[in-house]
């Protein structure tokens, strides 16, 4: 069986896996990082989104072996060592952007990439379009959109520009 070595949340990890093992299965079943969830089998729901080399990726769309040498960040790796939450996590909590919590890890990981990749600002419509790949059945998205907008200034260190829509 193939062996895969990668960096997960800053730590080196190595595992021997069946070739057909998905990255999300490597994370959950081999590395016991169960914060990354599986909500579907068609890459539609986004519950399994993680960051790979700085880009958000649905970890059910990749084989584990494709992550050889990659730097992976999961929801468990976001908070600081002293427990301080990432601004996106904090804004999700502040704005009640989660209910059952199941879609939340993937939603947070997608939202972070969305904010990081839009230093020029984000409109509400851009946030809604940008989260199109993550399904939440509980919140109705209203508070998720609020949380992402509130996290933008915290992550970019400046006020969110009022983009003309």
């Amino acid at each position: 069986m193939p062996q895969v070595s990668l960096t997960v949340n800053g730590a080196a990890a190595t595992a021997t896996v069946e070739a057909r093992t998905l990255l999300v299965e490597l994370l959950r079943d081999h590395l016991h990082l169960t914060g990354t969830h599986i909500g579907c089998d068609t890459s539609q729901c986004g519950a399994c989104v993680v960051s790979i080399d700085g880009k958000s990726v649905k970890s059910c769309t990749m084989l584990a072996v494709q992550a050889e040498g990659a730097k992976v960040t999961t929801i468990e790796g976001l908070a600081a060592a002293d427990g301080t939450l990432h601004p996106m996590q904090e804004m999700f909590r502040e704005h009640h952007a989660l209910q059952c919590g199941y879609c939340t890890p993937g939603m947070v990981m997608s939202a972070i990439d969305l904010v990081e990749s839009h230093p020029e600002g984000l409109t509400e419509q851009q946030i809604r379009d940008g989260l199109d790949g993550n399904i939440c059945r509980c919140t109705g998205y209203h508070n998720i959109v609020k949380a992402v907008a509130a996290a933008w200034p915290l992550m970019h260190g400046k006020q969110l520009p009022q983009a003309a829509e």
Binding site: G39, D41, R93, Q99, C100, G101, R137, C138
Partner: protein, 796 residues
């Protein structure tokens, strides 16, 4: 009740549970792995109806890692029971509903695509899946019936031989003669044929179950994705596996959404628990999404004809309704109660309609069982009523709001007895309507319509003034109507020696935020800091016997049990305080966490009393037992009746038929609110599910019983870019019969919104002669209507 204190009633406390969910440390069933664990995969029927000719498990059993392969015969040999139904309906003629056996694994026949035929236990998940594929099954396919109309056609194939015409029951409610008499005098009659579309709940966490057996003690443990672990323990232990309660522990840890679909006792729970003893190792099953589409109970699926008799002045004289409700292939746990006592009893809505008669036929089909889904019967009633009221307004040439106001139950008419069994305790429909119209800018709509038209868009506005019933109760009445369970709730309030409090509740949180809301309630009432209260739920090994969470009951019923238990705590605390301060018990007052001798400055803090109770050196032993730990059961006197007004504004692109919800306003009367932030979130989520039902979602079967919308690529879930901001207001009257005055909020969003959306869509299409559009109002359907090719288009 006290003024709003930090962490108390009325404070939007940020949720206790969020930190673990946000950091990836939630503990859902699939996150749990037990030492020595094995994996299960089920082999399921891919035909909707058929006779099992043969099953050959030999190839599967020989595959790598396979520990055992079981079929229905193995369960039959062990005399394992069928999955029971929790509610019995009687037909018009007094005969009991047809209640076919529902075996854990199919016996002789398969009856829907997804029916489980064999189960493989293997060392790994992949080995189990591979081997399940290798089970050789010969099925002789039989003709299938995929919907209630096909199932009731002459000569239709029978799902169960004992159910003639595929009828499970033929039930009615109301005064038929009074309705006929009123129709005979009607000035006009509004008529409506509608379908309440079949929905697939799709909580984001797929179901999962882990069975364990300890051979040394004979104890079983089941971890499962359930909204009500004690109900599962009772049903599975008593009816299916014959395990007494004290030998069976059911744990529902963090659960990723339920929306009703995780109420029911499913065959997989029994299968893994039974198999754990067979292989003497833990046995785990995790559902894949494609599997959940064909095994989780579906929702709604009514075909209805309704008629409303009208007086010339717009008064409703009588309503008659005929519904065919799809039960699917087997009766799920609460299926028979949904189209009957949770649907027909709500047909008065907020109106003074004096005579109502409803007939409901429940039909077996070769489809997944249908049961409660967020709202459960009340959305079907609200949709029917709020649609036919709009049709009636058009019939009479009346304004849609004016006709509602003409028929509202006046605020001073409460308590109000409806002609369909329920007695509403409180409400003010004019208040919720007026507030919603103001927030939605109803008065300025015509200008927005004109402005949209200039942009080439068809803009419409619609309202629904709905009412629903929560906290199903009382037990004695529910029992008389066919419930095979009590509908009380339990709370155990354990004051710890240093004054912190642990609350054990029979309700279950799977997104509702109970760990926060209930802690607020207890903090407020006992005057202890919010962070000194812990809420425990979801483990029959820890919590007393309670009924779980569904029907928006957790606060109204479960919270009321907490209030009762806290009353006992306070009563005992007063006695202890009286002893310590050498005063009469009657002179001890309890406020803000202090026991005070009335009229003096002598007082004892709550924590001092707690410590005295557990370190009883100076204690009235002759009168009291040590400890401060009280349990209360609360059996409500009545349902609670949330209601309100939802207003939706849509724009249709006539080129594509696409409907965009551009504005949504919900003003709900939900009684006393503990945490406004959580309440708003519940409404927003419910409204979005309602918009999903109205515009996007549809569980579609083809005529052979294959589910066509069987994946998230085919079944359209609302996404962030399908819905607008949802503006929420509350305009509450208090429930008069529970100690909190709370009514419930979990389902209002999904109940009030679908008719508001469709009323807006029909309004937008006013120039196209449309009186009704069935849900979901997809772009294809709307485009066809606009093109003049709509199959359901009715000329005015």
């Amino acid at each position: 009740m006290n003024e709003i204190i930090k962490g108390g009633i009325g404070d939007s406390v940020r949720r206790t549970e969020d930190r673990r969910f946000l950091s990836g440390h939630g503990r859902y069933t699939d996150d749990i792995n037990r030492p020595g664990q094995t994996w299960v995969a089920f082999r399921r029927s891919d035909v909707a109806h058929g006779r099992i000719v043969s099953i050959d498990t030999s190839a599967a059993a020989a595959m790598p890692g396979v520990i055992a392969v079981f079929t229905g015969e193995d369960f039959a040999r062990d005399a394992v029971g069928g999955v029971p139904c929790g509610w019995q309906i009687h037909s018009k003629d007094g005969s009991p509903m047809i209640e076919p056996a529902h075996p854990v694994l199919a016996q002789g026949k398969v009856r829907y695509v997804g029916d489980a035929i064999a189960m493989v236990v293997a060392e790994t998940k992949q080995q189990a899946k591979d081997a399940a594929e290798a089970v050789a099954i010969d099925i002789e396919a039989l003709p299938a019936v995929a919907d209630q109309r096909a199932a009731t056609a002459p000569g239709a194939a029978l799902v169960h031989d004992e159910a003639a015409g595929n009828v499970c029951f033929d039930w009615h409610l109301g005064d038929k003669d009074a309705v006929e008499a009123a129709f005979a005098t009607a000035y006009k009659i509004a008529k409506l044929d509608l379908v309440n579309n079949r929905l697939i709940p799709n909580p984001m966490e797929p179901r999962a179950a882990i069975g364990e057996f300890d051979a040394s003690t004979g104890d079983y443990t089941l971890h499962t994705t359930s909204q009500n672990p004690h109900v599962i323990r009772l049903l599975m232990g008593a009816f299916v596996l014959h395990i007494p309660e004290h030998k069976l522990r059911v744990i529902a840890p963090d659960v990723g959404g339920g929306f009703g679909s995780k109420i029911f006792h499913y065959i997989e729970e029994a299968a893994v628990t039974w198999a754990a003893a067979k292989v003497n190792r833990p046995v785990k099953w995790t559902c894949e999404r494609g599997e959940s589409f064909i095994t989780d109970a579906h929702g709604r699926d009514h075909v209805t004809h309704a008629e409303l008799a009208l007086a010339e002045d717009g008064k409703f004289l009588a309503l008659r309704v005929r519904t065919m409700a799809n039960m699917g292939a087997y009766l799920s746990t609460f299926a028979p109660s949904i189209p009957t006592y949770l649907h027909a009893t709500l047909l008065a809505g907020v109106y003074t309609t004096p005579a109502i008669y409803a007939e409901v036929k429940a039909i077996f089909t070769n489809t997944v069982p249908v049961d409660a889904y967020r709202g459960a019967g009340r959305p079907e009633a609200a949709f029917l009523l709020e649609r036919i009221v709009d049709v009636a307004a058009r019939e009479l040439g009346m304004d849609r709001i004016a006709i509602r106001r003409r028929n509202f139950i006046p605020a001073d008419a409460y308590p109000y007895q409806t002609p369909v069994a329920l007695q509403y305790d409180s409400g003010n429909h004019e208040a919720t309507l007026a507030r919603a119209m103001e927030l939605a800018g109803w008065a300025g709509f015509e200008q927005r319509r004109v402005e949209a038209k200039a942009r080439g868009r068809l803009r419409g506005i619609g309202a629904s003034t709905y009412l629903e019933a929560c906290g199903i109760a009382p037990s004695a009445v529910a029992g008389a109507l066919g419930a095979r369970a009590g509908l009380y709730e339990v709370a155990n309030i354990r004051v710890n020696p240093t004054g912190s409090v642990t609350v054990f509740t029979g309700t279950h949180s799977h997104g509702q935020g109970h760990e926060t809301t209930f802690a607020q309630l207890v903090a407020d009432q006992l005057g202890v800091p919010f962070d000194q209260v812990e809420v425990v739920h979801g483990d029959t090994g820890r919590i007393p016997f309670g009924m779980g969470t569904y029907g928006s009951r957790s606060l109204a019923v479960g919270g009321s049990a907490m209030v009762k238990a806290m009353d006992k705590i306070i009563a005992k605390g007063r006695k202890i305080a009286a002893h310590l301060m050498e005063a009469a018990v009657e002179d001890i007052e309890f406020r803000n966490g202090k026991f005070t001798v009335a009229g003096t400055d002598k007082s004892k803090a709550f924590a001092e009393i707690a410590l005295t109770a557990y370190v009883p050196h100076n204690f009235p032993h002759e009168e009291l037992e040590p400890g401060l730990d009280e349990t209360a059961f609360y059996d409500p006197k009545n349902f609670t009746y949330p209601g309100g007004c939802h207003i939706c504004e849509v724009e249709i692109d006539p080129e594509t038929g696409t409907v965009a919800v551009v504005k949504f306003t919900a003003v709900d009367d939900i009684g006393r609110v503990i945490n406004p932030m959580i309440v708003e979130g519940q409404v927003q989520g419910g409204v979005t599910q309602g918009i999903g039902q109205a515009l996007l979602e549809h569980g579609i079967y083809d005529e052979t019983g294959q589910l066509l919308s069987g994946s998230l690529m085919d079944y359209t879930m609302p996404r962030a870019d399908n819905v607008p901001d949802i503006h929420v207001g509350t305009e509450s009257t208090l429930c008069t019969h529970n100690p909190l005055g709370s009514k419930g909020v979990g389902e209002v969003g999904a109940i009030g919104s679908p008719p508001a959306v469709i009323n807006a869509v029909v309004d937008a299409l006013r120039d196209y002669g449309v009186t009704h559009v069935d849900m979901p109002a997809t772009s294809q359907k709307i485009w066809s209507i606009i093109q003049g090719a709509a199959p359901r288009m009715a000329a005015e």
